[in-house]
Point group: none
Chain length 201, copies 4
């Protein structure tokens, strides 16, 4: 198999294995078995288990931010044609979908951030802060045009909101058994947030 492919395959496979077993409990042998290669081959592509891990997180962090970017920037505000309702609903739907899709990597990230792996923690915080920043930015615009009520600290509000969303998502996503209609959930949470932010009539 060409080097690029093999490398990618290792990255892909290891996300699953790490998410399933956690970094510590995952041995290089586990990954190699899952990838269908000999143990030695692993080290042709990555200097160490931890190197792979770092690269994996880095890569996903980049992808994550890239994918978030256009979504947050997608124009949106000031409102072109759609209603605030549609907007918020779309946003929450997207966030939930994202969660579902990247459940594994989120799990890994969170776990390592909690474990205070210096490098990983920094990366995690970077992502978090960027997400918060773009949402805060939007909220500021929304407040400016009076679509939502005015709050004194947009960043804190963004933190609060994202936390709420994540928590709801977590509760349903942390265990794979509880399969939920994410679309409905997104709609519900959006409605709720909308009500909370709605300007006084």
């Amino acid at each position: 198999m060409p080097a690029d492919e093999r490398r990618q395959s290792l990255l892909d496979v290891s996300v699953r294995v790490f998410a399933q077993r956690g970094y510590e409990r995952t041995s290089v042998a586990h990954i190699c078995k899952a990838a269908g290669i000999g143990r030695g081959t692993f080290y042709e592509y990555f200097g160490s288990k931890h190197d792979l891990f770092r690269e994996l997180l880095g890569e996903h962090a980049r992808r994550l931010l890239e994918r978030m970017e256009p979504f947050y920037r997608k124009g949106v505000l000031p409102l072109a044609g759609g209603s605030v309702q549609d907007l918020v609903a779309a946003r929450f739907h997207e966030i939930f979908a994202h969660f579902r899709e990247h459940r594994d990597i989120y799990n890994i990230f969170l776990r390592e951030a909690l474990a205070k792996n210096a490098a990983t923690g920094d990366l995690f915080r970077l992502i978090q802060n960027q997400q918060i920043a773009v949402v805060a930015d939007e909220l500021r615009q929304a407040m400016a045009i009076g679509v939502i009520r005015k709050f004194p600290d947009a960043t804190q509000l963004a933190t609060f909101l994202l936390g709420g969303v994540m928590h709801v998502a977590f509760k349903y996503l942390i265990d794979e058994s509880a399969e939920v209609d994410l679309d409905a959930l997104a709609a519900d949470v959006a409605a709720m947030a909308l009500a909370a932010l709605a300007p006084a009539r």
Copy 2:
């Protein structure tokens, strides 16, 4: 040292060590050294490293719920004398304080829940759900007497709110360096939530 004391000391010591290094990276030797005992002694008190861990989580879960219980139940609603503002402020302050105090055990819990340790995950979810349940209960009462706006699903709202609070708390508590005035933070977040929940004028 009497057996009971020694046992308790081991539990106390291991919380710190586990929080610092994580379950996997903590060896029995680490715990024994921190507790100042020989490695053999450990097994006089606990059948295995994992046994100690289970017991530790169980014990803290019990304590946690016990301590939460009276606080949530403390009566509160319908409002005796204090304003809604005071109430919410008090609540958030308490939650933040709780975070700070039990940072270690929260960290352990969260990490293990994410690691999908069947037993630990269940415990974690139990705690989480109980917290959500009591908050949801209160919210329902508050809606009933019109102190806050009406929302269709109180449980989801509670989840959302607790998530928001936790997220703000996390952002500041995850790294020990960023020392923050928790009292001020609690006040800010309370104000924000209050505004969000306030009934239409």
Copy 3:
């Protein structure tokens, strides 16, 4: 077995194994097998293979210098009663005996010094220089009282002489097969050096 004993036994055993196979080609398993213990036990006593090695060299360096010290200082010069002949003969005999006894450790030392292990090389040079220093000191005294001819640089002469001795010793000691009458060899070399150093009649 008591810890002290085991520790010492490991040090003793490993000298032989290292000398036989060289540091690199000696595995911890080799040492453990030679010492009759399990592989894990090794790490109860030494942090790593290299730690053991360092300690081993350090310990022998200390012993070596200690044992050399009184020998070189044994008074000797200015000549009490014995002749120069006796003195030099005794000295060379001792050096040869020392070689034979510590053949292994000399081998290890020299090899590592050549391998430019920073730490080991420094140790080796220290020993060498000390040996040279004491011999140079004696030579200076001997020149002063006219027992040997005068040379301009005592240190260089000492280096030269010790090198000569070591080289002869090496030639016979490097391979274990060639068993030689060391006493006779010492006497021969002593006579030779003596003739070389003898003052002009």
Copy 4:
């Protein structure tokens, strides 16, 4: 690149790498990287890492002896026109120069001889003995014509002398940092040896 050239380039490159890192710590990958070839290519030219090593030592041994040969045989004794002083001085200078030039290969040789690699050790001893033999031969001639004092065992004397020279050389050559005026050193050592060997006036 033509096969012959590549082969030679591999030999040349590997001397440096082996001298720097030692045989054991040098991997085929190291050599290939230093030579700028793929790992597979190596085995087109040498059957194994050890094969290369053997060939390398053999080649250098041959060169070494060849270069020594004419020098030692260069006639010299009985004295044509020059003085004994000039002769000995020239000899020592040459030996020192040789050391400096072949520091790497000497290092490898010595290390392997000490490591008791059967094959390498034999080779090393062969070289050593040949050097000793030619010097002994010369000494015998010198004694015969009364240029130096008479010693009973010319071989042992040669061993002693070469050892002395090598030791002085070693002391300065073992670490690359201590840059020394080799010419001056050679002159000093020559004067010293000369004085030691000079016949009684």
